[in-house]
Symmetry: C2
């Protein structure tokens, strides 16, 4: 990361971001993702400076297994929003998505869509940083074949069965009812909101308006009940703690004796030669007794 | 915790545990739960010594919301197992449940039941340390009123609808079918096992034998497919990491500057005066720059 040769780098970023200058936006995102200590310091300063200009976008998380038509959906959804006179930024999940989201907010985007890559813990991470979490599903022959990960359905603020077009409409409607029943068995996250299940067709741009109207109606209810403010405050505190955790783990794994002994210790635990308690104490001992 | 005045404390514990001496078992559990450094050291040694004698019990986790009849169920289930000539130990979830489980295993109990208290993260914790996780449910008027926590249903290796007796039998059977449909929408954790949904009546000791036969059939399949060994190895490694995490957090919160500044920093993040990134960096800085 080479910083541009201008006298006040911070102002360069701040004014560029507020003018929605795409090149500077992308440079700013590169800066926050950089792991160089000097970049991290600058990124911290930049975020502090932008903070007063954040918080106004609709933060929307979208997930779905591969093959569900997520890209087509995001494209159709984005076209619809542009048609409504709204601006939007689309982010994929990376290590610094929250920070990238704040930068896009400061740039004045009305809607920020965060797409998950559909692997690992990304759904939980995205759900914990957005205002609304949309799960895209398919009407499958056997629904269990869809490979939806444990817990994902329970993070949903709404579910949309995609590819409800042509021969598939009846099957999609049947799947919609099934998921509706399944969601009723789960305790809703908010007393003011029961996640609806809808159908849509991204390729035919069908059902998109309805999904957006669900997002805005959810937003109105959450703001009115004060849950939006509570949710965002909680997200900020959760984020702080996840960064602290990340930092503690980084420090642990950076320790030279931990690095040296971890493979053998892990192997011993795996083979039942060492209890996990003993192994953990040994590893932590290295941190306290630096040589 | 005062250690008994005998020459070889460790042998006192080991032989007492292997003789299933209840007083010594309970002392050993007190020892592992003690936070005194000298007790922790002794507990570590004890667990190392017992390790070769562990791993043979059926580890069974049981959860259910208050009112589901969990105590009555565990009692009926225990009576049934005793009738089958099996010995069992029942543990509630505490800070050192895994260690207590190992001690009971070393004592030779055939079945160890870990009950969750039904609050916080206890279900996930228990599910991550047992071979089989049973979720007790009720047939309710509105099922969403049961207050089942997000994700709990997805941890289940089996679900049992309790209180399927007298006037309630039809309702329980209806609930059974509903949960069966809901579980079909989730991807099973193992290709060799789809979690069944059963009904039972703990007060009438009805359906208990069926539940035990499900547990044993699950066990046979998991052992045959090698998943039991994989699951237990994974649990040991997970346990090591959760202890490392716990230790890192303990060290963080023990830091005097963290303790002093955390309330104000948290307040600033909550009020939007400080970004979570800045706050986390500041807190971590205290650890690296001890005064």
């Amino acid at each position: 990361m080479t910083l541009p040769e201008i006298p006040d780098t911070m102002n360069y970023y701040i004014s560029g971001i507020q003018e929605k200058n795409r090149r500077i936006l992308s440079k700013a995102i590169t800066l926050i993702e950089s792991s160089l200590p000097e970049d991290q310091e600058a990124a911290g300063e930049l975020l502090e400076a932008l903070l007063p200009h954040t918080g106004n976008a609709v933060r929307l998380g979208i997930t779905g297994v591969p093959g569900v038509g997520k890209s087509t959906f995001v494209e159709a959804f984005g076209m619809y929003l542009l048609g409504q006179g709204l601006s939007l930024a689309v982010l994929g999940v990376a290590r610094k998505t929250r920070e990238a989201m704040l930068i896009c907010e400061a740039a004045g985007y009305d809607v920020i869509i965060v797409e998950t890559v559909g692997v690992g813990q990304s759904e939980t991470t995205v759900a914990s940083m957005v205002d609304f979490f949309l799960v895209l599903m398919l009407a499958g022959a056997g629904d269990e074949l869809q490979g939806i990960k444990k817990g994902v359905l329970e993070l949903a603020d709404a579910v949309a069965i995609n590819k409800a077009d042509q021969d598939n409409i009846k099957k999609a409607e049947r799947a919609r009812k099934e998921y509706e029943n399944a969601l009723h068995l789960l305790r809703p996250a908010s007393p003011a909101w029961s996640p609806p299940v809808m159908t849509c067709s991204a390729v035919e741009a069908d059902g998109i308006a309805q999904i957006w109207s669900v997002v805005t109606s959810h937003r109105k209810k959450m703001i009115a009940s004060g849950e939006m403010e509570t949710r965002r405050k909680k997200q900020a505190i959760d984020w702080m703690w996840s960064l602290v955790d990340e930092g503690l783990k980084y420090r642990f794994h950076k320790d030279r004796r931990v690095q040296k002994e971890l493979p053998e210790i892990t192997e011993d635990v795996n083979n039942g030669k060492m209890t996990p308690t003993f192994a953990a104490n040994r590893l932590l001992f290295f941190l306290d007794n630096k040589r």
